[in-house]
Amino acid sequence: MAKTFQLEIIATDRIFFRGECEHLVITAIDGLLGIMAGHEPLVTVLPTGELKYMVDGVWKYAAISEGFIQVMPDKAVILADSCELPEEIDIKRAEEARQRAEELMKQKQSIVEYYQTQAALNRAMNRLKVSQKHFK
C-alpha cells in the first residue's frame, strides 16, 4: 500500500470526491502535474481538462472545468466549476453544446462573446474527449 494523502474535489454543485488518494495527476496551465503524498505546498490553476487519481491501486478519471488546486504535504483541495466522471457525462448534451458553440464561433461576435463561446466549446470538447477515452 502506497502512502496516501487526503484529497478533496469540490465542484460548485456537489462534493465530487473526498477521501484518501495515492496519486493524482492534473492538467495545469503549463502541462501535466503528478502529485503524491508529501508534495511541497503548491497552488496552481486548472483549466478545463482531464484529471486522474488513484484510489486503492485503481486509476479513476474525471472531466473538470476551470478551477484551482491547493496542495499541502498531507492533503490536496481542488475547487472547480464542475467535475464529472466519464460515465456521468451526457454525450448528447455535450455534442449539442459543441455544435452550438461551433455555430456561434462562425457568427460575428464581440470579443467577450467570442471568449465565452470559446470557453463553452472547450468544455464541450473536453467532456466528449474524456467520455470517449474512458467510457465506452
Binding site: 478533496e8 462534493i15 476551470e66 484551482f68 491547493q70 475547487l79
Partner: protein, 302 residues
C-alpha cells in the same frame, strides 16, 4: 346588524385572495425545496472556497497584482464604491426585500460621499426602489444596464457579473466592491450581510495567538504567483457571487413561503369570523321575519 349581502361579498373576496395566497404558498414551497437543494449542494464549495483562499493567501508572497491594490492614495470621499445588492424580483415575501433595501440604504448613508457610490442591483424590486430614489437627486447612481434576475441562480450569470465588476475595478471605475445579500442561518433566521469582494483583502494571519510571528511555509505557485492570482481572483469572485445568489434566492423563497402561509391562515380566520357574523345576521333576519308573520297572523285573529 351589518348587511347580509355586504358580508357575503366580503367573504367571497377573501376566498379569492385565499386561493391566490395558497397557490403562492405551494409554489414557493416547491421552489424553496429546489433552492434548498442547490444551497446544500453549493454550501460546501462556498465555505471551502473562502477557507482555501484565506489559506492560500497566508502562503502567498507579496505580489503586485492589480486586485490587491488598495489604492490608498485616493482619499476617503473620492473613493468609488460599488455595491452589488441582491434583492427579490417580486414582492409579497414579507420583510425580505425591505430588510435588504434598508440595509443597503444604511450602508450608503455610512459612506462619506454618496455621489461616488455605484449600485449594481439584482432583482426587479431593488432596481425600482433605487430608481425612484435616484430621481430625488444627489443619490447613488444605479447601473441601468445591469439587468440580472435573481431567479434560479446559475454559475454563468455569476461569471458575467464578476466580469463586469472586475473590469470596472481594473479600469479604475470602482475602487471597492461589496456584495450585499441575505444569508440563511437556519430556516427561520435570516441575516443581511456584506462581503468585500475587491480589493482583495489580505488578512494577516501571520501572528500566532502568543504574539510571535508564525513561520509559514511559502507555497510555490505554478507558473507564477501573479499568473495564479490573475486566474484565482475572478474564480473567487465568481464563486462568492454565485454563493450569495443561491443564499439570497433561498431566503426569498423561504420568506415568501412564511408570508404566504401567514396570509392564508389569517384569511381563513377572517372567513371564520365573517361566516359567524353572516350566520348571525341571517338568523336575525329569519327571526325578524317570523316575528312579523306571527304578529301579522295575530292581528288577523283579533
Amino acid at each position: 346588524m351589518p348587511n347580509m349581502r355586504e358580508i357575503r361579498e366580503r367573504i367571497a373576496s377573501i376566498q379569492q385572495i385565499l386561493k391566490i395566497t395558497n397557490a403562492m404558498y405551494l409554489m414557493s414551497s416547491s421552489k424553496l425545496k429546489k433552492a434548498r437543494k442547490s444551497l446544500d449542494a453549493t454550501e460546501p464549495y462556498f465555505y471551502k472556497l473562502q477557507e482555501t483562499i484565506n489559506n492560500i493567501l497566508e502562503h502567498t508572497p507579496h505580489t503586485r497584482q492589480a486586485y490587491f491594490d488598495r489604492r490608498t492614495n485616493i482619499p476617503e470621499d473620492k473613493r468609488k464604491r460599488g455595491y452589488i445588492v441582491i434583492t427579490g424580483d417580486k414582492g409579497l415575501c414579507g420583510s425580505y426585500n425591505h430588510n435588504i433595501l434598508k440595509y443597503a440604504e444604511q450602508k450608503l448613508d455610512e459612506t462619506k460621499n454618496i455621489d461616488n457610490c455605484y449600485l449594481f442591483v439584482m432583482g426587479q424590486v431593488g432596481r425600482m426602489h433605487f430608481h425612484r430614489r435616484m430621481s430625488g437627486g444627489g443619490k447613488a447612481s444605479v447601473d441601468g444596464e445591469f439587468l440580472y434576475t435573481t431567479q434560479n441562480p446559475t454559475l454563468y450569470r455569476a461569471m458575467e457579473i464578476a466580469k463586469i465588476v472586475l473590469d470596472k475595478f481594473e479600469n479604475h471605475e470602482l475602487d471597492e466592491v461589496y456584495v450585499l445579500y441575505t444569508d440563511m442561518i437556519n430556516s427561520n433566521l435570516q441575516e443581511t450581510r456584506t462581503v468585500q469582494l475587491l480589493p482583495f483583502e489580505r488578512r494577516h494571519f501571520g501572528k500566532a495567538p502568543d504574539g510571535t510571528m508564525k513561520k509559514l511555509p511559502k507555497a510555490s505557485f505554478v507558473p507564477s504567483p501573479e499568473k495564479v492570482m490573475e486566474f484565482l481572483i475572478p474564480q473567487y469572485a465568481k464563486g462568492i457571487i454565485y454563493g450569495a445568489m443561491v443564499e439570497a434566492f433561498c431566503c426569498e423563497q423561504q420568506s415568501r413561503m412564511t408570508a404566504m402561509d401567514a396570509a392564508t391562515t389569517s384569511a381563513k380566520d377572517m372567513i371564520k369570523d365573517l361566516s359567524l357574523l353572516y350566520n348571525r345576521a341571517r338568523q336575525a333576519a329569519i327571526t325578524q321575519e317570523i316575528t312579523e308573520v306571527v304578529s301579522g297572523a295575530n292581528g288577523l285573529d283579533e
